[in-house]
């Protein structure tokens, strides 16, 4: 790596790290205000997230859907699109996974599992194609349409899970996923863990690599990024920007569908209503924090997974309500979005690096 590149990477880290630091500071002030001890609380938070092997596994399990949803938001961002509908794309992906994974019988695992995962990706991709096409063909802002489609998907899934696909029992859920479509859990592989961390995490790592390759090593990725930087210039350079907008939405939606598939096939093994505490929305924060780069997304997902799991432990051992974590996440998003605040508080050491 050249010297300038190293400086550039350090500069890229400034805003996310500064935002996290400011977020934790705001959290500490809130904990003080309610009469708690911030050091004790943050210690409990850390122990809850990374205290032992099993806790680390659970943190990775909580991070897994965020890797997918963060990648989904980041990929759309790279094309200049704000996909706020990852939550809905995840829901329809989950629905497809739950249906194909439980109702298609008689297939060997090598066919059934990929088939189920692909149907989840297809469902998410098609769901996201609608706002993509409307943006490309009718010029409608994708933010509004993806919000609307989130609510349509909530209602659709609520209807299907409580009525049509409901398994017998108290809680609304679909019938269990067949063994031939399940992602293996850590708890089934080793005896020291009861974690539901599953092979979906490895798919998440692979997805980061694939998206990196796609964006920076292929022509399509170059075209997508060109449209994101300037649709007009891209069009002038011979890129069909409408086509790239639709493509970016479909890929983004497919990643959202994968987030649903991992939860249904590995973590929950059925579609339980309310399985997501908002993974799609946390993905927005993860993508922002990760500067829309797959490596950043991975780190952001791990951070948010750790905050959520550690938060529960903090609540248990220090009486600071777990919802403080949600407040922290919102504050971090504010500081990342308003990066000028962070840049002002953490000024550059030297004025000019030359080429940056």
């Amino acid at each position: 790596m050249r010297k300038e590149d190293i400086y550039k990477n350090i500069k890229e880290l400034l805003v996310p790290v500064g935002a996290i630091a400011l977020g934790l500071l705001v959290g500490a002030i809130i904990i003080l205000m309610i009469g708690g001890n911030p050091i004790e609380a943050y210690k409990a938070l850390f122990i809850g997230a990374f205290g032992d092997k099993n806790k680390i596994a659970n943190t990775l399990a909580r991070s897994t859907p965020l890797i997918f949803s963060g990648l989904a938001v980041a990929f759309a961002f790279r094309c200049g699109l704000f996909n706020i509908g990852v939550e809905g794309q995840m829901f329809v992906g989950a629905l497809a996974a739950a249906y194909v994974g439980a109702n298609v019988t008689g297939l060997p695992k090598v066919i059934h599992l990929p088939l189920t995962v692909i149907s989840a990706m297809l469902a998410g991709g098609l769901w996201a194609a609608v706002p993509g096409v409307l943006k490309a063909k009718r010029g409608v802002h994708e933010v509004i349409n993806t919000i609307m489609m989130n609510f349509i998907s909530y209602a659709l899934i609520a209807f299907l899970v409580t009525d049509v696909l409901r398994a017998p029992g108290q809680t609304p859920r679909t019938v269990g996923i067949l063994p031939s479509a399940q992602l293996a859990r850590l708890s089934e592989l080793v005896n020291w863990s009861n974690s539901r961390l599953n092979t979906g995490f490895l798919i998440g790592l692979a997805a980061c690599a694939v998206i990196y390759y796609l964006l920076w090593k292929t022509t399509v990725g170059y075209e997508v990024r060109s449209v994101g930087l300037s649709p007009m210039a891209a069009e002038y350079g011979g890129i069909n920007s409408n086509q790239k907008i639709i493509l970016a939405m479909v890929i983004s939606g497919a990643l959202g569908g994968l987030a649903g598939a991992e939860r249904i096939l590995g973590f929950d093994r059925a579609l339980i209503l309310g399985f997501s505490p908002g993974f799609g929305f946390e993905g927005i924060a993860v993508a922002l924090l990760g500067r829309n780069h797959p490596v950043g997304v991975l780190l952001g997902a791990l951070l948010f997974g750790a905050l959520s799991n550690g938060g529960a432990w903090m609540n248990f051992s220090t009486d600071v309500p777990v919802d403080l974590i949600v407040v922290l996440q919102a504050v971090i998003i504010f500081f990342v979005a308003a990066d000028q605040i962070v840049r002002r508080l953490f000024p550059k050491k030297k004025k000019d690096w030359g080429v940056v």
Binding site: I147, V327, A330, F334, D339
Partner: protein, 293 residues
């Protein structure tokens, strides 16, 4: 069958369901007409609903609760405004952050103040005047007032100007930044008031996540009503009617979830221009930078 579905109480139920939508949609269009995307309505409404109950709990006076709701919505909007106007953050991102913040903060404070996880203690609610609680009448009046202000006063003209072409407005001496702050804060105050209509008008408690997407339905009503007060009023009534009707349809076996989709589908169809195109203000979502005019 129709006579079971349609009677005078259905009309009352429609107005009750439409009230928070009307107020929030009007608030939303004031912000959006000035050029600020307001997807944070949901969060501001939720904060308003919460503050209303807290103030009514500690003072025993629901009217003070309403004022508390307005202030809380305004404060959330001020944060939204500072981040998106002064620091030029992406308005959709900051709006999302407001929604997440409100969801977390209300539950957090519910634990701290009342030691409960989901539902606050009961408080004194607003009185009923005739058929409705007072905020319903205010909502209807608000439509007329906003229409007059937006289209028949210089102030309204300025709001519309800075949302369409802020640099042109600036050259004729309109303070774009200040106007946008005012519009965003008014919008937040109205969303907060709508929250009070839910928690002190319809109910007498705060329930975790009680706005249940109404902020987004209001956004939909604003778009479906083509960013005009009267249009937003009509759309809110329509969506309120759908809401009131779903309860009854459920009674005769129609799944309520399918009826709940209607507002969102209508909005997408309207935006796509299949039935009378909705066009947003031209400068919507762009931070105003004086240096770039």
């Amino acid at each position: 069958m129709l006579d079971i579905l349609l009677d005078i109480s259905l009309i009352y139920a429609t107005f009750r369901a439409a009230t928070p939508l009307i107020i929030t949609a009007i608030g939303g269009l004031i912000a959006e007409r000035s050029g600020i995307i307001n997807i944070a309505l949901e969060g501001k409404m939720l904060m308003g609903a919460f503050a209303a109950v807290v103030v009514s709990y500690y003072t025993g006076n629901p009217w003070l609760g309403v004022i508390g709701a307005i202030v809380a919505g305004g404060v959330m909007a001020l944060i939204h405004g500072i981040v998106s106007i002064k620091y030029k953050a992406n308005q959709v991102v900051s709006g999302t952050a407001i929604n997440i913040l409100a969801g977390g903060l209300t539950v957090f404070l519910l634990q701290i103040m009342f030691g409960v996880a989901g539902t606050s203690p009961q408080v004194r609610k607003l009185p009923t005047w005739g058929i409705f609680h007072p905020i319903v009448y205010f909502a209807i009046a608000l439509v007329g007032i906003t229409h007059l202000v937006l289209y028949y006063t210089p102030w309204g003209l300025r709001v519309r100007a800075i949302g369409e072409h802020p640099s042109a407005a600036d050259t004729v001496g309109i303070n774009v930044i200040r106007m946008r702050y005012i519009c965003v804060v008014i919008s937040g105050m109205l969303a907060g008031l709508a929250g009070a209509a839910l928690s002190l008008g319809d109910l007498n408690v705060f329930v975790k996540g009680m706005t249940a997407g109404r902020g987004f339905i209001s956004l939909a009503a604003m778009i479906f009503g083509k960013w005009t007060p009267i249009g937003a009023f009509g759309a809110s009534l329509l969506f309120g009617f759908a809401d009131a009707l779903q309860m009854r349809l459920q009674g005769i076996g129609v799944p309520s979830q399918l009826v709940q989709m209607i507002p969102y589908i209508f909005t997408m169809v309207a935006l796509a221009g299949f039935v009378g195109k909705s066009t947003p203000p031209a400068a919507l979502g762009q931070a105003y930078d004086k240096a770039k005019r």
